[in-house]
């Protein structure tokens, strides 16, 4: 399995005046791994990417690339490939000139450059466009050129800043598939930034979830989705429902008991809940079913809205005094439901996860938001 560490961030921090965009981040990315930094805008993910690229220097901390400290090096010295959201192709250069720019900077002879540019075009699936200018290409094609350009000089690390953000949905899905294939073929270490959880889920080996300048949690998409360690991961990454509950028993192996809706049920926990009194119970929409059963959380609710979403019915329910709950019911259960009718819902205890409630112990306890921490402020050409 993967063992060597390709990229390591140690206590990385960046402030812009009084605004702390990144607050002491530790992260290890393995060689050949596809790691996604996922977070809402202003969470610091783009700042981290730009710190790694060397476009801005950290206020504190270190960036280790294959064991060497690159924290204070210029972008050129780091040798990291980067793909920008808006591609940033050089408008006055042809496709081939764009792709071979990095090779030219490294003093490759023309013949070798052209050879390599051809290979890269092959890799990203661009044919017969050598002499085209960027403005003569579609968005998808421009993205392929940007990718080929960033990979041509065989960087040890590839950074991607929302590279699919400017494409329409159809193309985004196709390009995501292409990215998977290219990553599989080359085995380059990739750090990918996005605010789109579907992208993060489908592309990544592991996802690091960013929130207010810190990494909230790191894990495989499946682990983070099925056993979210924090409230933020549960809601932002999983899109799960949350119900308030009290922890009544906890044990070290992750099996806990909680009191929720006046019932005591078993649940799992992805983080240490020692000392936590109030918790959230995480309920995935797909785990909700019609009915009433033992060893489950039973919920009485009123149907507020039903949406047929193809293969399932998304039912918005109202739990008295608790707020709303989303349930993705099988079509045969969901289609006949009348808005306003009362229904019995259940969630098997195996599907329940407990996370710490805000202001309590546990890794996920998040502070009140200092709202100014946006990544739009770091206009980096100006910072070096």
């Amino acid at each position: 399995m993967k063992t060597a560490i390709g990229l390591q961030l140690k206590g990385l921090a960046k402030s812009y005046g009084p605004v702390e965009a990144v607050k002491g981040v530790d992260l290890s990315v393995f060689e050949g791994e596809f790691l996604t930094l996922l977070g809402p805008s202003g969470s610091g993910k783009t700042t981290i990417l730009r710190l790694i690229a060397g476009f801005t220097l950290p206020t504190a901390g270190q960036i280790m690339l294959q064991g060497r400290d690159v924290s204070r090096m210029t972008p050129a010295e780091r040798g990291i490939g980067m793909v920008f959201q808006h591609y940033a192709l050089f408008p006055h250069m042809t496709v081939v000139e764009n792709i071979s720019y990095g090779l030219k900077m490294r003093g490759w002879p023309a013949a070798k450059r052209n050879q390599r540019a051809r290979e890269m075009q092959e890799l990203v699936g661009l044919h017969g466009m050598d002499k085209r200018l960027p403005r003569e290409l579609s968005g998808g094609q421009q993205q392929r050129v940007a990718l080929a350009r960033a990979l041509a000089f065989e960087p040890t690390l590839l950074l991607m800043d929302e590279p699919l953000g400017a494409l329409d949905r159809e193309l985004r899905i196709r390009m995501a598939g292409e990215l998977r294939r290219i990553h599989r073929e080359l085995g380059t270490t990739v750090v990918y930034v996005t605010h789109d959880r579907e992208e993060a889920m489908t592309l990544s080996d592991r996802v690091a979830i960013m929130h207010l300048g810190v990494i909230d949690a790191v894990g495989t998409p499946h682990d983070l989705f099925s056993v979210p360690p924090t409230r933020f991961v549960a809601s932002f990454f999983g899109g799960h429902n949350l119900l308030p509950a009290q922890l009544t028993r906890h044990s070290a192996n992750g099996h806990v008991k909680v009191r929720c809706l006046d019932q005591e049920v078993d649940a799992t926990s992805g983080s240490d809940l020692t000392g936590a009194g109030n918790v959230w119970v995480v309920i995935p929409a797909i785990a909700v079913r019609l009915g009433h059963a033992a060893a489950s959380l039973n919920i009485e609710a009123t149907v507020a809205e039903t949406l047929y979403i193809g293969g399932a019915v998304q039912v918005t329910c109202e739990i008295e005094g608790m707020g709303r709950l989303l349930a993705n019911l099988p079509v045969e259960d969901g289609l006949g439901l009348e808005v306003g009718s009362k229904i019995d819902l259940l969630v098997k205890s195996a599907d329940l996860v407990a996370v710490a409630r805000e202001g309590e112990s546990g890794a996920g306890a998040s502070q009140p938001a200092p709202s100014a921490a946006t990544e739009e402020v770091d206009d980096l050409a100006k910072d070096i």
Binding site: A53, G54, F55, T74, P75, A76, R78, G79, I80, G81, M82, F84, H86, A88, F90, P91, H92, Y101, G102, M105, R106, R149, A150, F153, D379, L380, A381, K382, D383, I384
Partner: protein, 264 residues
């Protein structure tokens, strides 16, 4: 009702069309008249000319008073354009690519020469130049004209650099370019057409400048606009219609050049 409304709007459309046409005629008739006059052989201004010929052009090129004034104008205008570009470019880069405090205000102040009351400014300039004993010097006039030429660089190159995303420089650096190489090879390269266009317009502004030269030029610094003004005192020689035609043709060509450069 509807019919009257349509009739009124049709009428208005025709009226506005006529107005625009009138404006164009008003602007272009003098041009046509001057060009026609320049090809007359008369020794006094007279329209319509009764004999066509190249007398005005021949007289212009044979008279050293005029030719040396053209040379003088070139000697002033070319360095002026160069100074404007050399001062304006770093300023534009500083306004747009640094965290310089008050950069928006500074950028705006770069445009103030457009608003300067020329004569009043020239008087002040004269007083200052007299202190430093540089009235009547070529360098003095070049510096004065640079003030007028600078805004062309600030406006045109400034607009161009705002269209170059900073990401391009960053990507060049990530691909192995040094900061300087990224700045020159990408940002500077992409603004080059605008720089050339600004140079042309700065040159034209200085070539055409008639106010400062009258104050700080002294009696001996005779540029083409000054020569024309001076000649008017002795009565109107129709050869200035020849000069006007040459100037308009050259200006037209350089303006087209500037437009073409900006588009390239």
């Amino acid at each position: 009702m509807l019919r009257t409304q349509i009739a009124v709007s049709t009428l208005l459309r025709w009226l506005s069309f006529a107005l625009v046409l009138l404006l164009i005629v008003f602007l272009f008739v003098p041009v046509v008249v001057v060009v026609m006059l320049s090809f007359s052989n008369a020794t006094v201004l007279q329209f319509p000319p009764d004999q066509f010929g190249l007398r005005q052009y021949v007289a212009f090129f044979q008279n050293q008073y005029w030719t040396s004034s053209v040379v003088k104008s070139l000697v002033i205008a070319l360095p002026t354009a160069l100074v404007a570009v050399l001062v304006g470019m770093p300023a534009v880069f500083a306004f747009n690519r640094t965290r310089l405090p008050f950069r928006e205000g500074l950028e705006l102040s770069g445009l103030t020469p457009f608003l300067l009351p020329g004569v009043a400014y020239a008087v002040a300039l004269y007083a200052m130049y007299a202190q430093f004993h540089i009235v009547g010097t070529t360098v003095g006039l070049i510096l004065a004209d640079s003030v007028i030429a600078l805004p062309f660089v600030v406006v045109i190159v400034g607009a161009a650099i705002k269209r170059v995303p900073p990401d391009l420089e960053l990507v060049a650096m990530s691909l192995g370019a040094s900061r300087a190489r990224a700045l020159i090879g990408i940002t500077f390269r992409l603004t080059l057409p605008a720089i050339a266009a600004a140079f042309v317009l700065a040159f034209l502004a200085a070539f055409d400048e008639a106010t400062f030269v009258n104050f700080v030029g002294g009696p001996d610094l005779v540029t083409l606009p000054k020569a024309i003004f001076d000649s008017l005192r002795l009565g109107v020689d129709p050869l200035i219609t020849g000069i006007a035609t040459i100037l308009m043709a050259l200006t037209g060509v350089t303006m087209l050049l500037a437009v073409w450069l900006r588009r390239a």
